[in-house]
């Protein structure tokens, strides 16, 4: 079994619903949509968790790529702008997945992006706009 959170971007020409329908039907995968949006240049954006057998998962991903959908792992969608971070620590108790950790000696804030589920809480809470959405 494999389960990944992915960000799919659909060029304006693609109808996302049909693609997801086929992905699930023909490749026997389960999905859970975390967020859907249309970006400024009319691209469709879908954040979802895709779960299934490894083989099916890989076939499904290939299918998506062939149709022209761009895929990237979710964590990259919340960006940590290190130069803006003061290491205050205001984000630490806010993150639901403990993606921020205080390094005990330097007391600098480390961001573990693979833990991030892109809930955007830190993007709003960070007083220095050091956390930002790619979109």
């Amino acid at each position: 079994m494999i389960s990944r959170k992915l960000v799919l971007s659909f060029p304006p020409s693609l109808v996302d619903k049909l693609i997801i329908y086929r992905l699930v039907k023909e490749h026997d995968l389960e999905f859970n949509i975390l967020k859907a949006a249309v970006t400024q240049n009319e691209e469709g954006m879908l954040i979802m968790e895709l779960t299934g057998e490894k083989e099916n998962y890989e076939r499904g991903i290939n299918y998506l790529k062939e149709t022209g959908v761009h895929i990237q792992p979710l964590s990259k969608d919340v960006i940590f702008v290190e130069e803006k971070c003061t290491s205050c620590g205001a984000c630490v108790p806010q993150c639901p997945t403990a993606a921020f950790v205080v390094e005990p000696v330097s007391r600098k804030i480390l961001f573990y992006e693979e833990r991030c589920i892109a809930c955007e809480i830190c993007v709003k809470v960070c007083p220095y706009k050091a956390m930002k959405m790619r979109w």
């Binding site: 003061t86 205050c88 630490v92």
Partner: protein, 400 residues
């Protein structure tokens, strides 16, 4: 043998003063005792880097042709209203000022993306700022409108002037209600979801000289990445609070008013700051050198996080209602561990003040002194002290 500031300065000039940060002093006193440490160490440097709302900068713009009298008119910098109640071309940017058309908390919680603190940051960073002004016009100042870009390099004076910085200790904020709240102490999740604190603790300037014995009006300090001075005691200075036996107040107490030439400061240490649902402010880097004049001062400067206690206050009710009750007490070592236990619950902690920032300031100030670029000063006058009877009053609302 007690030392004087003059003697320490002689050592600094000779290049053989011993300067350590307030963190390093902890171990030195632990290993050698305060008496010996006072002989070994000449200066202890402190630092703090946190949001400080009572901050501002005043600018003299120079005169346009024809001239305009901004005093009594309206002035905006990057759409942020600035104070124009001085002479013709002196203006004051307040850190918490926000554009007239900012939705504020109408779309709750307000985002407060840009305001006075950001204007000050952009100014010190050398960016051009758009000034828009209207005035009523006089015989000697006929112009009524002015629109121009300004830059810190072109104006006459640009001075950081903060009426209240460097709080000596501060509350820890929690939320006992069942709704999320947005405060100047950050976002507080319901039912004790988190506890936020804001102090550099053992590195904090006024916690290393709790009775203001070495610092006072005129003391030269690190301010915003440059050199500044303590200009007065800060507003809400409250030295007469109860103290623990080591002299430390367990509630917010002393404060400093500080001043310095903005032109030699840096963006690194003056950061525009957004508090979700609350507003805009300025995060200020400030560090005070403490001359180790005797054994007593050596003991004060060895203060550790576990010795510094503070009160936990409910910001959903007690704080806004102005009730003096605290939910509990905690020390900074507990806060820095990441969780505290309160009313039988494990509560994760968050900080607003940057400890790595405070440490870097103390280290920078130490380097400046070692490199003989920074000499110590003797205060011109003391701050009101613990025995002065000086206190912080509330406002009694009355009809006239």
């Amino acid at each position: 043998m007690p030392k004087t500031v003059a003697e320490i300065n002689e050592k600094i000039k000779r290049g053989d003063a011993v300067v350590v940060t307030a963190e390093e002093m902890i171990d030195i006193v632990q290993e050698n005792g305060a008496k010996r440490a006072a002989e070994m160490v000449d200066v202890v440097t402190t630092g703090t880097f946190g949001p400080m709302c009572s901050s501002g900068a005043y600018i003299n713009l120079g005169h346009s042709k024809p001239k305009i009298k901004l005093g009594g008119g309206r002035v905006y910098l990057n759409e942020v209203p600035v104070f124009a109640g001085f002479a013709a071309v002196d203006i004051l940017i307040g850190a918490t000022s926000i554009p007239d058309d900012d939705p504020r908390n109408r779309s709750y919680p307000g985002e407060f993306r840009y305001g006075g603190g950001h204007v000050i940051e952009d100014l010190v960073a050398g960016k051009d700022l758009r000034l828009v002004a209207s005035a009523y016009g006089t015989d000697c100042y006929p112009r009524k409108h002015l629109e121009t870009l300004i830059n810190i390099n072109d104006v006459n004076e640009a001075v950081l002037f903060n009426p209240r910085n460097a709080y000596q200790n501060y509350n820890v904020a929690v939320n006992l209600s069942d709704k999320i709240i947005y405060t100047y102490m950050g976002v507080l999740k319901p039912n004790l979801g988190n506890a936020n604190y804001c102090s550099a603790g053992q590195l904090s300037p006024l916690l290393n000289d709790p009775y203001y014995k070495t610092l006072g009006i005129g003391t030269r300090i690190f301010l915003g990445g440059g050199i500044g001075y303590i200009s007065w005691w800060g507003t809400q200075h409250n030295p007469s609070v109860k103290r623990t036996e080591n002299g430390l107040p367990a509630v917010p107490a002393g404060t400093l008013a500080v001043i310095g030439d903005l032109k030699q400061m840096s963006q690194r240490w003056l950061r525009g700051t957004t508090m979700l649902g609350y507003g805009v402010t300025l995060t200020v880097g400030l560090g005070v050198p403490i001359p180790v004049l005797n054994e007593e001062i050596a003991r004060y400067t060895a203060v550790r996080d576990e010795d510094i206690w503070t009160q936990i206050v409910d910001y959903s009710s007690a704080y806004p209602e102005g009730k003096a009750e605290a939910v509990g007490k905690v020390n900074y070592a507990q806060l820095k561990s990441g969780t505290i236990t309160l009313l039988g619950k494990k509560v994760p902690t968050g900080s607003l003040s940057s400890y790595p920032g405070a440490r870097e300031i103390a280290t920078t100030l130490k380097e400046w002194i070692k490199e003989r670029r920074f000499l110590l000063t003797e205060p011109v006058a003391p701050l009101p002290g613990a025995g002065s009877g000086y206190t912080f009053k509330g406002l009694r609302i009355r009809e006239g």
